[in-house]
Structures are given as structure tokens and as C-alpha cells.
């Protein structure tokens, strides 16, 4: 037996994440340095993870957890790769 989450909670949570995505996108567009853009991309990956977790609750399928694991791994590797590249570029 699984709990039934009200629709209002789903809509509110998705709205919060959507507003967060728009704000991160603004910082991605007009960040003064490239490091701000990397931070914004990191936050965007976390927001996408939140979207996928909420969507797995919405459609009641548990295997979406694997996608969250893979996204967190790829986001970490991308962030470290870009910052290492920026440090060794000079």
C-alpha cells in the first residue's frame, strides 16, 4: 500500500523547482565570471534531480532512483573536470 499525495503538494513542489530553475538560468546567462556559470550548472543538475524524484512519486515508479544516482555522479565529474581545466589552463 502506498500513500496518496494530494495534487496541491505536487503542483506546489513542481512550481518551487521551476522558479528555482528560472533563477539559476538567469545566473547562468549573466554571471560575471565563468565560475558563477559553473555554480549555476551545478545547481541546475540538483534541480533536475529534484524534478526526477518528484516525477517518480507522481507516476509511482521506483526505478527512477537510478537516474538520480547517475545525474549526481555526472554533475560531480563535470564540475571537477571544468574547474581543474580552468586551473591548469594558465
Amino acid at each position: 500500500m502506498e500513500a496518496i499525495i494530494p495534487e496541491t503538494v505536487h503542483y506546489t513542489a513542481f512550481a518551487f523547482l521551476l522558479i528555482a530553475l528560472v533563477l539559476a538560468f538567469f545566473r547562468l546567462m549573466r554571471g560575471p565570471t565563468i565560475h558563477d556559470r559553473i555554480v549555476a550548472m551545478d545547481l541546475t543538475a540538483s534541480i533536475i534531480m529534484g524534478f526526477i524524484l518528484l516525477y517518480s512519486v507522481l507516476i509511482r515508479k521506483a526505478f527512477y532512483f537510478d537516474i538520480a544516482i547517475v545525474i549526481s555522479l555526472i554533475s560531480f565529474m563535470g564540475t571537477v573536470a571544468i574547474s581543474t581545466y580552468l586551473r591548469q589552463k594558465r
Binding site: 565560475h35 551545478d42 586551473r87
Partner: protein
Amino acid sequence: MKEMLISILMLSGTLFILIAALGLIRFKDLYSRMHATTKATSFGLLLLVVGVALFFFTGIVLLKAILIVLFIYLTAPLAAHSIARSFRNEDQESRD
């Protein structure tokens, strides 16, 4: 009862991520921006993952939830440290 707990966890988790994005757009320094995004996002994802794991509540889902939380809490400080160090190197060079 369980629905209420899961709803509160999901809403507070997404609210923490929203606060992190608000800090990213409002603060005026890279260090304060990272201070906002790294910790608040990790905590928000922790709450969200715990809520979703309580929703399904099977063994494999709980194991994967522990794995996700452990991985996030291990890698978020490392990524933030890496970005901050590359920014600091550039900052010091431009100041010299």
C-alpha cells in the same frame, strides 16, 4: 499521517532548493553564492530523497536513498572546494 509527513518533506526540500536559487541570484560575491547553493541544495535534496524513499518504502529503494544521500554529502563539498580554489588562483593572479 504518512501522507502528511511525505508532503511536508517534499515541500520543505523543494523550498530549500528554491532558497538556494534565490541566494544564487541575490548575493553579490562568488564565495557567498557558493555558500548559498552548496549547503542549502544538499539539505534540500536530503529532505526530498528521504520523502520519496518513505513514499515507496521497499528495501532496495531505501538502500538507493542512503546511497544517493551519502554520495551527495561526499561530493558537494569537493566540487565547491574545487571551484573555489580555481577562482582563488585567478583572483590572486589578477591582484598581483
